[in-house]
């Protein structure tokens, strides 16, 4: 596997080969290897990448030691990639060169929080469907949530109203439309989960 950590910069649209397409711009500046996990020591091989610098002041002793050992300035976000495709050393910078234009990748983000939502928005229930013919004022109610004295309880996993969004979402088969290597930007086709400025993990196959 290979991957990068980035930040969602926003969306725009570009003409690529005459096609007008909506793209999400992801900023992947300054990914550095902060740790190499090995079979002997950790039981598996992986590359740990660090992204987004933070102030020395807000680093605790344990973190400071971890970054110092790798020779990397303290950063906010750490992500591990199992069995990295490229040979990397600790402290090395990883950039857009590991991806190619036209490649399909997975994009992971934390979706926007929607707050407490009803079943129509949260689970796609169709609602009651009628406003007239004696229907009282509960057009978006879930309806029955179970049977009677048998089983005499609500089954586990019943879809109900509640907190929506703020989940880790992985979108598969997202196409890389364009890579701006100098600016460290990756443009992917379509939308990407999460708010502008939130962390995005790009995962190759």
């Amino acid at each position: 596997m290979k991957g990068l950590i980035g930040k969602k910069a926003g969306m725009t649209s570009v003409f690529i080969d005459g096609k007008h397409m909506g793209v999400t711009v992801i900023d992947v500046t300054g990914n550095q290897v902060s740790q190499l996990k090995t079979e002997e020591k950790d039981g598996y091989t992986a590359v740990q990448l660090a992204y987004d610098e933070k102030r020395e002041k807000s680093v605790n002793a344990a973190e400071a030691g971890h970054f110092k050992r790798a020779g990397v300035a303290p950063k906010r976000k750490l992500v591990e990639f199992r069995d990295f495709d490229f040979e990397k050393k600790e402290g090395e910078t990883v950039g857009t060169e590991i991806f190619a234009e036209g490649e399909k990748i997975s994009v992971i983000g934390i979706s926007k929080g929607k707050g407490f939502q009803g079943v129509v928005k949260r689970h796609g229930f169709s609602g009651v469907g009628m406003a007239t013919h004696g229907q009282h004022d509960r057009q978006r109610a879930p309806g029955s949530i179970g049977a009677s004295s048998d089983p005499s309880r609500v089954l586990k996993g019943m879809r109900m109203a509640g907190r929506m969004g703020g989940d880790r979402i992985k979108t598969l088969n997202v196409k890389i439309v364009k890579i701006l290597a100098e600016e460290n930007l990756v443009l992917v086709n379509g939308s990407v989960p999460g708010a502008i400025g939130s962390y995005i993990v790009l995962e190759g196959r």
């Binding site: 910069a9 926003g10 003409f15 711009v25 900023d27 701006l180 600016e183 930007l185 443009l187």
Partner: protein
């Protein structure tokens, strides 16, 4: 606008190379059409009835009468397929969207030409 997005727009989306025009103008649009691997140019001449959107999504609508039937085409202004735009006439209109042209035919649908000083 977010500086990163502005940068992307600047590097990947060139400015319009076409002359500026407004609703009411009569223009000819040369549009590239690819058939198989051959490419040819088709012309579409008519009145601009609206400009829509901004930035890369800016489009314009051209309306013409073809065999007594009104035909409207929407072109993306920055599309690489829009080869050339020629402004034939500059019209004098008082609206940004000339939807009223859809209800008019024949003489009533004429747009008065704007009187301009001739450049020496």
């Amino acid at each position: 606008m977010n500086p990163t997005i502005a940068l992307v727009n600047k590097t990947l989306n060139p400015e319009s190379k076409h002359p500026s025009f407004r609703p009411g103008d009569n223009i000819t649009v040369s549009y590239k059409i690819s058939e198989g691997n051959k490419e040819r140019i088709q012309e579409f001449r008519g009145d601009v009835i609206q400009l829509n959107g901004q930035g890369t999504t800016k489009t314009f609508t051209v309306r013409k009468m073809a065999n007594g039937v009104g035909v409207e085409r929407v072109f993306p202004l920055l599309s690489p397929f829009v080869d050339e735009i020629i402004v034939n006439k500059v019209g004098r209109v008082r609206r940004a969207k000339l939807y009223y042209q859809r209800d008019r035919t024949g003489k009533a649908s004429r747009i008065t030409e704007k009187r301009q000083a001739i450049e020496q």
